[in-house]
Amino acid sequence: MQFYGEGIPGVNPGELTGRLIVMEGADGSGRSVQMEILRDYLENKGHATVNVGLRRSTLVSEELREAKEGNVLGEITRSLFYATDFADQLENQIIPALKAGFIVLADRYIYTLMARDIVRGADRGWERSLYGMALVPDLVIYLKVSPAQLVERNLRKNAMLDYWESGMDLGLSRDSFDSFIRYQRLIQKEFALMQAEYGFSTVNGNLSIGVVAREISNRVTDILGV
């Protein structure tokens, strides 16, 4: 494996024998369901897997949850809190699991973090350098779902749109529906820009769960030979 940039001091990526598969996509893109299906698929084939996701570190996840409730963090501070959360999981979960030969399934990765920061005005070069600590995954599945479809799925599930997933802090619109649509478009635009640089494997998430799952397992098989 290799790092995107400067990497993590003291870690030799050559020693990592596992595989890293990332699933990216907005809330309502079917990410969690597809993660579960993929996990079953891999375990059924005899591969050991580990699940990681954002905001799950022992170090700062609690602080991040609190900060999400009251909007008290500055933009740079929030970016860095998320980066700390990511680094903590990278070093304490992802890297050890990869050393031990596991397949690590990451429910979102640096791309979501970068896209969120950039649509809020962060400098692209700064983001790229910051996340130069991250490992290059073997495969990044990007579940692309139209904003209209995302709204429908989110509303069906929760009957309301999440403040952050609607980008309400950006002040795009006071109306959460309008804000959601506009914010998700901005994020998708950012993903489209990153696509070229990071080589996502885009999957049309508007299709049925079964069709999407088959598409994902085909790509996993192709790329990993597992």
Binding site: E6, T58, L59, E75, T77, F81, D123, W126, S129
Partner: protein, 231 residues
Amino acid sequence: MILCQNRGQYPGRLIAVEGLDGSGKSTQIYLLKRWLEMKGLKVFFTEWNSSLLVKKATSKGKKRQLLTPTTFSLIHCTDFADRYERQILPLIKAGYLVLCDRYIYTAFARDAVRGCSRTWLEYLYGFACHPDITLFFNTPLQVALERILGGRPQLKYHEAGMDLGLSADPYESFRIFQGKIYDEYLALQKRYGFIEIDGTASIEAQQQRVRELIAAEIDLPRYRSRTIGIG
């Protein structure tokens, strides 16, 4: 976020002190602050690693020894960013004299010793303006060590650099760690043009030098507080 450009456009001024533990910098910046305040100037003072928002996570990480060089660096940068976004930058915009006990160079020195890439660190802190004046309290390593270790204090794990595995003895570890930081400081001094203050001179002599320097570099009367009746 925009990387810091020339902020000559803002009326405030930023003064930072750097140096080893035991170099006497905190005493000197305290005396500087008192002097500026008593002149009736708009002054704000802030210390390294003091954001209330981030403190809990930092102390949890330190206590449970959860921190690696990367997370150590990131959490201190988060702390700095919180103070920078909410206090340092707004106050510079509002025309304050902002005094910082330790600034980004502390991170550059410590984190580089812990193995973080220097390029990565400089980019990481790229959102922060460089100070108008950085005073480097240069105290020979032995003197600084003697001031800290003389009283046989209880050294904290990270303070002693125990996470670097330099020595199993905290005092020995501290000595080696501080020596490495000192070397980083000397390199940073050249690179960023710190003004050197002789940390072996008497407290009074150092303070006189500091005050003269500040008065020569900054048009102090411009920073007089114009609020009437408060504070």
